[in-house]
């Protein structure tokens, strides 16, 4: 049981007083300890993601982006609310005193130039919008879909280790659970598409389902590769496996263990991109084709839930990539000293490192989104079934061969919570060979493919600045 599990037990016990805690006490304790903090952490990060995205998009498009909505308004509003029992002049005086504190004015100016208040403005706008339900919609299905989307996005976070002492659930089949739980989203998108009673949203829903169901296979296979390598499905144990006692603790990360794992990391990332409907896989909402796809009929808060679910899913993909391949919450340098720090500091640092890793994926996703065009239906499917799935199978084979060549690991011991590494003890030569052989083959294959299909029309060369 995780440390948080004990906390839940303790709180439930305290709530119940003496005797065995009833189900209600347990539920209340679980909500307090698990759900509320998670919502309080993930919601702000996901909302920050939106403003992040706007700024990044602006930078890529050589615009300024949000630049004039500051935090003055929200702060003044907060003062008014907090001091609502006092006369208005006092409220204003308190606010003035606050803004005169050293640094506050500067902060507000910077916040304004960064457009940080846009977040609050958007939130208020979203809350204020009319909640429209089309006449032809299937009421229950239409209403249920956003909640389900949000559920599907949040559930997998239960098993993601945020820090060594901060895991909500340690499930022996955590990896499997994460994939299964995120599958709820498919249902939500389908319901939204169907329940809206609009042809455009139905097309979007159909596309979403076809895409999500297909891409669960490469994603599942990518996770299976890691499971094969680590010999466990427990995400916390997988992170533990990647511990390396040297100065450069990133040498222990799965990403650097084998080229096949690197390949799988890419597959997981791109599969994840498809799972959360981001460009170039945004067929389901394709604004230039389907106007807005499955969520076309949604407005206000319901639409906001879909948006939030999308960003949460992006965070989820980032978390999974970080957990499975980038050593989870571990620091890239000097993890061994980090674990010797006091628990509170260690946890804080772990969370920070984890969030940074997730943000890295997040940034990459945005960069891709604002650069690439969108795939077509057939291309999305071809990419999945004819490229990603074979690559995954090849990588699984490669990992198995590497493990056999390295002497194999005691697979049976992998189950249960084990701090020790269970990976094949390849040694330096084995490691180098494990990288060199597949890389050489890969380079040869790419070269041949380039020679065959890489001819570019001279006119295109001229357009891109080359040629005569």
């Amino acid at each position: 049981m995780s440390d948080l599990g004990y906390a839940v037990d303790a709180l439930a016990q305290w709530l119940a007083g003496s005797g065995k805690p009833g189900w209600f006490a347990v539920l209340l304790a679980a909500i307090t300890v698990w759900v509320l903090p998670m919502l309080l952490v993930i919601f702000p990060i996901a909302s920050l993601g939106q403003i992040f995205e706007r700024k990044i998009a602006a930078a890529i498009q050589r615009r300024v982006g949000p630049n004039s909505v500051g935090l003055d308004g929200p702060l003044r509003f907060a003062f008014r609310m907090l001091l609502c029992f006092l006369p208005r002049t006092t409220q204003d005086k308190a606010f003035a005193t606050f803004t005169n504190l050293p640094g506050i004015r500067q902060f507000l100016r910077i916040a304004k130039s960064l457009g940080l208040g846009q977040l609050a403005a958007d939130g208020v706008k979203m809350l204020g919008k009319e909640d429209l339900i089309p006449a032809g919609a299937d009421g229950i299905v239409f209403r249920l879909a956003p909640y389900l989307a949000l559920t599907g996005a949040f559930l997998p976070f239960c098993v993601v280790p945020f820090a060594h002492h901060l895991v909500m659930l340690e499930v022996p089949v955590g990896a499997l659970y994460a994939i299964a739980a995120s599958g709820v989203t498919v249902m939500a998108l389908k319901m939204a598409g169907w329940g809206s009673g609009s042809k455009w949203s139905m097309l979007g829903g159909m596309r979403a389902v076809a895409q999500l169901v297909s891409y669960e296979i490469p994603v599942g296979l990518a996770v299976a590769g890691v499971v094969l390598w680590c010999g466990t499905m427990d995400l916390h144990a997988i992170v533990g496996q990647q511990y390396h006692s040297g100065v450069f603790s990133l040498l222990g990360w799965n990403l650097l263990q084998s080229p096949f794992l690197l390949l799988l990391a890419c597959v997981l990332f791109f599969g994840g991109l498809a799972e959360c409907q981001r460009t170039p896989f945004d067929m389901a909402e394709a604004e230039s084709e389907l106007v807005s796809g499955f969520n076309i009929e949604y407005s206000g808060l319901r639409w906001g839930m879909f948006a939030m679910a999308e960003y949460t899913e992006m965070l989820l993909v980032g978390s999974l990539v970080a957990t499975l391949f980038l050593g989870g919450y571990q620091s890239p340098i000097g993890e061994q000293w980090l674990v010797s720090l006091p628990v509170a500091i260690e946890t804080l640092l772990h969370i920070t490192i984890f969030i940074l890793k997730v943000l890295a994926s997040f940034l990459l996703m945005m960069w891709i989104r604002w650069t690439l065009p969108r795939f077509r239906v057939d291309q999305v499917m071809r990419l999945c079934w004819l490229t990603l799935v074979p690559l995954c199978l090849l990588s699984l084979l490669g990992i198995a061969v590497t493990m056999l060549a390295g002497g194999g690991a005691e697979m049976g011991e992998a189950y249960g919570r084990l701090p020790a590494r269970l990976q094949p003890q390849l040694g330096t030569t084995g490691h180098l060979l494990g990288w060199a052989i597949p890389l050489a083959i890969g380079i040869v294959v790419v070269r041949i493919a380039r020679k065959r299909h890489g001819q570019v029309h001279p006119a295109l060369q001229r357009l891109t600045g080359g040629g005569a």
Binding site: A57, I60, Q61, R62, R63, K199, W200, L203, M206, R207, T279, P280, D282, M283, A286, E287, S288, E289, V291, W370, T371, L372, P373, R374, F375, R376, V377, D378, Q379, H453, Q455, V456, H457, A459, L460, R462, L463, T464, G465
Partner: protein
């Protein structure tokens, strides 16, 4: 890429695309009969932007119709002005008594602004096509270049969209003293920007694969369906009015004409969306070259506006008050292809009939033919690749 559009049940869904749809570039409505993701049939519905411009032409005086030509194609209003003015001048020339001689400097300025406007119009075309295919960023980069051209035009004539600059007999205002240098420096930066733009989207594999072999129009088809301009050249027909039926001073310039050559490579076909797109980009390069050539030819301004070399406007008041009775069909090469004017005069100061034949109109005519059997996602790519501008269809 054509897929047989039948399912066992044969069920079809009617999708109403437009008139308000993000990808229809204005108010174009297409009723799509789809079989899942595949388009089985489509029927364009026009007229949402009909402003009876041809009827207005029968009510206003010759020179007063120029602002209306702006509204025929507001994406390249200079070329629309030019097409009408060239038509009227040809009508006047058909009678020696009323022939007008446009000053050489005015001819140079006309070519200059027409080519600059061609650049800015093609910037919209390629940017919008990239956006239709799902890439938003290239559109903003290309529209930034259009803004540069608009800045130049604003200094020239005070307008950014509907210029009303070219008049019968010349242009409305002379170039501002600094304009040639400004244009030259814009052309330099523009070329560099285009290389960046092309690296960003044109050679992008996803973009190429989205456009390759989509809506292929063979050269015979293109001719029979009356396609003109880049759409015709995209199908591999080597024809450009600027070179083959020169008007103005285009005869003195060496116009090189790009045409479709299966730019997408192995997976492409001559006359697919990618060819039409690339032809536009190559035309932009050509326009840059033409602008530079014209800047060299540009004579210094003369103190008198009607001067035959350095002036910018011939006096045509007398000729337009009593134009020859009769008719004239003239055509010029606008960014969206041949812009033909059929002008009938009954000898009065008001045209008897003004007919404008536009490239988008015939391009819209081929939609229902090429959109059979393509994917729904390609519909927007096809609209983008033909670069239809709705006011030009509906007029």
């Amino acid at each position: 890429m054509t897929i047989e559009a039948t399912t066992p049940s044969g069920e079809r869904m009617i999708l109403n695309m437009g008139p308000h749809h993000p990808a229809t570039h204005g108010v174009l409505r297409i009723v799509v009969e789809s079989d899942g993701e595949v388009v089985a049939n489509c029927t364009p519905d026009h007229g949402y932007l009909h402003r009876s411009i041809e009827k207005i032409g029968e009510c206003v005086e010759w020179q007063m119709f120029v602002p209306y030509t702006d509204r025929i194609d507001y994406v390249c209003a200079m070329n629309a002005n030019l097409a009408y003015c060239v038509g009227v001048e040809q009508l006047l020339r058909s009678d020696p008594g009323t022939a007008v001689q446009v000053p050489f400097r005015a001819e140079c300025i006309r070519v200059l602004v027409a080519e600059l406007n061609r650049i800015s119009s093609h910037m919209i075309a390629v940017g919008a096509m990239a956006m239709d295919v799902g890439a938003v960023t290239p559109f903003l980069h290309s529209i930034a270049q259009r803004e540069m051209v608009n800045d130049i035009f604003e200094k020239l004539c005070g307008q950014r969209l509907t210029y009303n600059y070219i008049t019968v007999g010349g242009v409305a205002y002379d170039l501002t003293p600094g304009a040639p240098d400004e244009i030259a420096s814009f052309l330099n930066t523009f070329e560099k920007e285009m290389v960046r733009f092309n690296k960003l989207i044109t050679t992008n594999t996803i973009f190429r694969d989205r456009c390759a072999s989509v809506a292929v129009v063979t050269s015979d088809e293109a001719i029979a369906w009356g396609l003109v301009g880049p759409n015709l050249r995209g199908s591999g027909v080597d024809w450009d009015l600027r070179r083959d039926e020169p008007y103005g001073i285009y005869g003195q310039l060496a116009v090189r004409v790009p045409f479709g050559e299966r730019f997408a490579g192995r997976h492409g076909a001559v006359g697919d969306c990618y060819d039409r797109y690339i032809v536009r980009l190559l035309e932009v390069q050509e326009s840059v070259r033409l602008c530079r050539e014209v800047l060299k030819l540009l004579p210094p301004p003369a103190p008198k506006a009607t001067d035959q070399t350095g002036g910018f406007q011939a006096d045509v008041k007398k000729q337009l008050a009593r134009p020859p009775k009769g008719e004239m069909y003239s055509r010029t090469e606008a960014p969206r292809g041949e812009m033909g004017y059929f002008i009938v005069s009954d000898g009065t100061k008001v045209p008897y009939r003004v007919r404008c034949r536009t490239g988008s109109f015939s391009a819209a005519g081929i939609f229902h033919h090429v959109m059979k059997g393509i994917f729904l996602a390609d519909v927007v790519a096809v609209i983008g690749s033909f670069d239809v501008v709705v006011p030009e269809i509906d007029r």
